[in-house]
Amino acid sequence: MTTSIPLPTEAPATVGATVRATINGREVEVGSGTTVLEAAHACGVSIPTLCHHPDLIDVGVCRVCVVEVAGQKNLQPSCVFPITEELEVSTHTPRVAAARRDIIDLLLSEHCGDCRTCARNGTCELQDLAADYGVDHYRFGQRTEPVFVRDDTGPSIVFDPDKCILCLRCVRTCAELQGVWALGVTGRGAGVRVTTFADLPLSSEFCINCGQCLNRCPTAALTAVDVTARVRAALEDPRKHVVIQTAPAPRAALGEEFGLPPGTPVTWQLNTALRELGFDKVFDTTFAADLTIIEEGVELIERLYHALVLGEPDTALPMFTSCSPGWVKFLEHGFPEYLPHLSTCKSPQQMFGTLIKTWYADRNGLDPADVVSVALMPCVAKKFEASRPELTDSGFADVDLVLTARELAKMLRQQGIDLPSEPTSDFDDPFGTATGSGVIFGATGGVMEAALRTVLELVTGEPVEDLYAHADITPVRGFDDVRLVELTIPDAVGPVPSLLADLVPDWDWLRGVTLRVAVAHGTATARRVVEDIRAGGRFAGCHFIEFMACPGGCLGGGGQPIPTSLEIRKARARAIYAEDAAYGKAGHARKSHENPAVQRLYAELLTDGPGGATSHRLLHTGYTARGTFLPTGQKG
C-alpha cells in the first residue's frame, strides 16, 4: 500500500574511470574527480584541514591542507584538487610543513582570545592544529584586545568575531544547508569579516537560531548561549523544585562527549546522573511527543475532514509539523503566508512545560512559581522557543531553561560524573512511561512515522504491525533531503475510537483515500519544498509534511556534540531506532496513543478530548509573521 516516489538527486554521480594516485608512496585507486584529500583518507594518510567540512562544498581558502603535487609549480589545496589523471602527491614534506606552519601562525595572529577561558577549549580545531604543528610562540603576533563587539544579545547564539578565522564554514552552512543566508562576508583584504545583514545582531535578523553554524565553527566565534550557571543556581536553591525533561536526540549523542562512539545511547545512565546533579524529577520528553502525536494527528484528521467531506476549499493543506522551532521561525520569516499550514500544536518541549507548571504542580501541591522547568534538548533554537512571549499559558514561562547536550556534558564533568559508568534508572512518574514513537521524534521522518502509526491504527482498527512489520514504516526513514510517500487507506476501516467520537461520525470518507505525506530536513530543503508548493508542484498535493530545520532532524541539532557529519548523524539515528525497537521487545508501547500516561492525561485533565477546548488552551499556540530581511517589531 506504500509507494515511495524517488526524487531526482542533485547531480547524478558519474560512474567514470578510475585513476591511480600515489600519496606518500602509497598507491590508491580512486574514481576520477576524487579530491586529493579524499584519496589520502582512503589510503590512511591524514591531512590537516580547517575550512573543509564534510557537510559543505569545499572552497579551499584556509590553505592548511596544501600538499605537493608532482608537476604543479605551487602547493595545491588537497580539498579541492581533483584527481583526473595519474598523480603523485606528498603531504608532509619539509616544504609543506613549513608553509603549513606559517599559515597556522598567521591564523593565530588574528585570533583573539584566551584558550583557557574559551567555550571551545578542548574542542577547538585551531587549538589542535597549533598543538600538532608545535606552535610555541606567536610568531606573527597575537591580537590581545578585541576589536569587534561581541553579539550576545540573543537567546540562542553568541557571535564573537574576534575569534573568527574566516574559514566561512558558518556562512556556507547558513546558505548551503539552511537556505537562510543570515551570515555573509563583507570588506576585503585584512578587513574581511563575517557579518549579518546591515550588521545587526543575529537576534534582529532573519536567523532561525538553528545553530548549525556554531556546530560547524572550528573555533568559538559562534557558540550557544550558556545557561549552566543559571541551572546550577536553581539546583542549589532549596526553595526551588527543579525538574528536567530530556529529549531523545541528546540521549543518543551525549555519549560522544564522554568518549563513546557515536550512536551509543545513554538514556538510562543519564537519568541517574541527572538525579545526582540534583534534579528533583527526571521526565522523558517523549511523553509530550506522544501527546503531540495525538493532538497533531487529530488536527490532521480535522483538516482532512473539512477538506474532503465538508468541501471547504480554504482548508490549509498540506499541514506542516510545528515541533522544530528553527523551522517555525523560518516559515514566519520566509513564507508568512503559509503560517495557517503550520499545526497549531506546541512542540513537545512546550507542551511538557505547560503541563509541568499546571497539572503536575497542581497534583503535587507545588506553587508553579517555585517550579523550575529545565529541558535537555539537541537544539539551540529551543532556547529561543522557550523565550517566546506567547508560550506562557501556565502564567509563567512554560520552560525556564534549555540546556544543550554540550552544556549538560559540561555540568556532568564539573560534578565528576562519568556518564557511561553510571548505573541505569528509569524516568519519574507521572509521565514516566514513553513509547517508541516518541523516541523516534529525534530523527528526520520520526514525527511522520509516529503520526502514521497512530492515524493508520485509529482509522483501520487494525494493529499497524499487520500493515508494516514491527510497525517500522521504513519509507519515511532515511537521510534523503526529502521523501514523498503515498499511502492508500484500505477499504476496510474500523469504528471511530471513543476518544475521537466527538470529532467525526465514521471513517467511511477515508476509504481508499491516498494519503500523500512528505518529510524534509534542513531548511534549504524546506525552502525548496515550500517554493514547490507555492508553484503548485507535487508537494502542493500533499496532506501532511514533516519539516525539521536541522539536517538529520533533531539528532543533527545545533545543540548536539561537536563535530557533526553524515556518518555521525546516521550513527545517532541507529541508536534512536534501536531504542524504539527495544520498546517493542520489552513489551512497552510503541505507538503514541497506547501511552498509558497520555491516556491518563486525557482522562484526568484534557477531558474534552484531543483538540478540545482544554487542549487548545494549554497545548496549542499561534505564530507571528516576521520580516523577510528583518523582524517586524519582533525580537528575534
Binding site: 569545499d58 572552497v59 579551499g60 581558502v61 584556509c62 590553505r63 592548511v64 596544501v66 605551487n74 602547493l75 589545496p77 579541492v80 584538487f81 581533483p82 583526473t84 616544504r95 613549513a98 608553509a99 606559517d102 599559515i103 598567521l106 591564523l107 595572529s109 588574528e110 610568531r139 606573527f140 603576533g141 578565522i165 574566516l166 562576508v185 570588506g187 576585503r188 583584504g189 585584512a190 578587513g191 574581511v192
Partner: protein
Amino acid sequence: MTIRTPLTLATVHPDKGLRAALGQAPIEVLEEVDRSGIRGRGGAGFSTGLKWRLASEAPAPDGRRHVVCNADEGEPGTVKDRALLSELPDLVLEGMTIAAWAIGANNGVVYLRGEYVYLRDGLEDCLARRRASGLLGHDILGTPGFDFDIHIRLGSGAYVCGEETALLESLEGRRGEPRNRFPYPVVRGLDQAPTIVNNVETLAWVPAIMARGADWFAGIGTPGSTGPKLLSISGDVARRGVYEFPFGVTVRELLEASGGEDAHAVVVGGACGVCVPAVDFAREISYEEISTGGAIIVLGPGRDLLDVAENFLEFFVDESCGQCTPCRLGNPVLLEGVRSLRRGECTAERLGELQHLGRTMQDASKCGLGQTSPNFFLSLVDRFGPEIIDRIPV
C-alpha cells in the same frame, strides 16, 4: 598617457584579420594563432592558442561559449590597455570576434575597469558601428550561423577582479573572489560554460596575426616570447608613456629610450613584479627572463626602495580579496616587517621569518595576487642585500 613609439597595431588594416579568419575553418584559425606563439599579454604568459583550443574542445552542454576581454587593467604602473581601448578599440573587438569564430562562442563581454568608465561611450559607439556594419550580430560578414555580440560590463574598483576567475565571479554578480583551479575557465567559466578570458592587448594582436600571418608574428621577439609588446614606462624617467618593443628588449634599452639612464633600480611587472638592480639592466624583458604584463617603473637614485615596498604592500593589504589565509594575513605581516626595517627594528632573524613567509605566500596562496604580492619584497632582500642589511640593528 602618451604613446611614445609608432604602434604596429595602428598599421593593421581594419577587419582584414577578421575577413581572413572567416575565410578559414575555426580549427585553422586556432592553428594559426597557436603557430604565432602568442602568449597572454596580461602577464601570466599562458599560450593563447592552447587556451583557445581547450575552450573549443571543452563540452558545452547548452552550446554556449564565451569570450571575455579582461579590460580591468589595474596593475600599478600600466596603462597600455587604456591606450589600446582609447586609440584602437576596433582592433580589440575584432580580436574578440575572431576568438569567437575560433572557439564557437556566441557571447562576448568586455569587463572594463571601473575607473575607465569614461571609455565606455566610445566603446559603445564602436560596438554600434560594428553591428551596423555586419561585424557583430547575426551571420557576421555573411557567414551563415556565425552569431556573436559583445556587451560591456563595468568593474567596481577591485584590483583582484583582474584575476580571471575573480572577474568571472564579479560578472556573475558575486563578490570578486578567485575560484579554485580545476576546472579552469576554459572548461567551466562564465555561467559554467567554456570561457576564454584574454587581455586587451592579446586580443588586439589577433587581427594582426590573422592579417599578416603567424610567421610574421613569430619572427619578432624571442623564441619563447614572440611578437612585439606594449610597455608602460613610468617613474623617474624623462619620457613617461606607452612604448612598443619586441620581446627581448633589455632593461637598459628601455631606460635609454625613456630617458632614465641613471636609474637605481627598475620595477618590472608593477606592484606584483620584481625589483631589478642596475647590475641586471642587460637582462631581457621576456617570459623566459624578466616577465611583465606591461608595467615598467623606474626608480631613480634618490629612491628608498623600502618606501616603494611599503607602498606596494599597503596596496596589497587593501586589495587582497581576503579569502585565503596567506594573502589576507601575510601581506599585513610583510607590511609591518618593512615598516620595522625602515625603523631599524627588524632583526636578521625576523627578516629570515619574513622571507620564509613571503615564500609561503608565493607557494600556498589561492591566486596570483597572493602568489605575487611578496615578489617585490623578496627581490629586494635577494638582490639589494646590502641596502637591507644596513637597516638591521647590530
